[in-house]
Symmetry: C2
Subunit: 195 residues, 2 copies
């Protein structure tokens, strides 16, 4: 195989996503990722100096894809439609427990400022917060969401529910429906703040 | 120092709680816990075969103390009062970031069934779920909470909010108030489900 640097990098991220999802972070070796990417181990380490750096790249790529998914084809959904888009993302996550597990564990570890993925986790939350804040404010301007709704809290609580329900779902995937819980939460928000 | 086995164990848990909170899990050595407990390292390892076992004991003790805190002096708070008690616990957690950080990281890691703290994390959520479910059901019987409120979802979402807000607070302790966010959430629940 003869790939450009850019192509090798993208392919390594795709391979690592698949392997991390199937066998977990600990169960995946840099050697296995290199082999399936068609690179030598030192070739892979040229792009990603450590397995942790590879994981960060996987999660950044996931955030990018999720961002595209949330944006939709016709530009970002605004007002309550943003909560529907987030619900669709939650439904999609319900089909990929390994990736959700990796996210939950890395996000928790990376709260430590010394962690190599700390910059990624800050970026993850600030991106999601900005996107949802814009959507809620536009909903207010359109008269769809009450003008006196506490925007920052709505946004923080919504993100908290997505994260917190993931934790419970990972422990009891057969008992907890992330989609149903998220819908129940947004029904409560709409009941209180719709205009 | 000449302590009984029971006393040594309790003292080691208290010392480990303090050290984990001050210097983190990685920054705390078994040797340091042993020395401040007044035990040899092998004496400490007799009670706790690993640092992970010591951490699990610290978190179990925290759950026990939180349980006492939530129960209050006069028996468990019922109906909406349980949400007030949980809010008071959230306020108390706002004063102990290191312990919250340890909890968040261990709870995430321990979603893996092979993790040594997996039994602890299952117990943590099932205990909290049972306590809050009983409180909500009693609130319904008393006519304080609507009979058609979806109890299981109310409980899951409340626990999700506590967890999810912790994650955001650990990243931005100066910008996020866990207490204010939890209060906003319970105001929304009361607005929808009070009778």
């Amino acid at each position: 195989m003869d790939l450009s640097g850019e192509e090798s990098r993208a392919r390594a991220v795709a391979v690592a996503t698949e392997l991390f999802a199937l066998t977990g972070f600990k169960g995946t070796s840099v050697a296995a990722v290199a082999a399936r990417t068609g690179l030598s181990q030192s070739g892979l380490l040229h792009h990603f100096p450590s397995k942790a750096a590879l994981l960060t790249a996987v999660l950044e790529e996931r955030d990018r894809q999720d961002g595209d998914f949330l944006a939709g084809g016709d530009g970002p959904p605004l007002g309550w439609a943003a909560f529907d888009a987030l619900g669709a993302l939650v439904a999609r996550n319900s089909t990929r427990p390994h990736l959700v597990g990796l996210f939950v564990r890395l996000a928790a570890e990376a709260t430590d400022p010394a962690h190599p993925a700390h910059a990624w986790v800050l970026q993850h939350y600030s991106g999601l917060t900005r996107w949802l804040t814009d959507a809620v404010r536009t909903g207010q301007e359109r008269g769809e969401i009450a003008a006196d709704a506490p925007v920052a809290s709505l946004v923080r609580l919504t993100i908290a529910v997505v994260d917190g329900v993931q934790q419970q779902w990972l422990l009891h995937p057969d008992q907890v429906s992330m989609t149903a819980e998220f819908e129940e939460f947004t029904r409560t928000l709409r009941a209180r703040w719709s205009r």
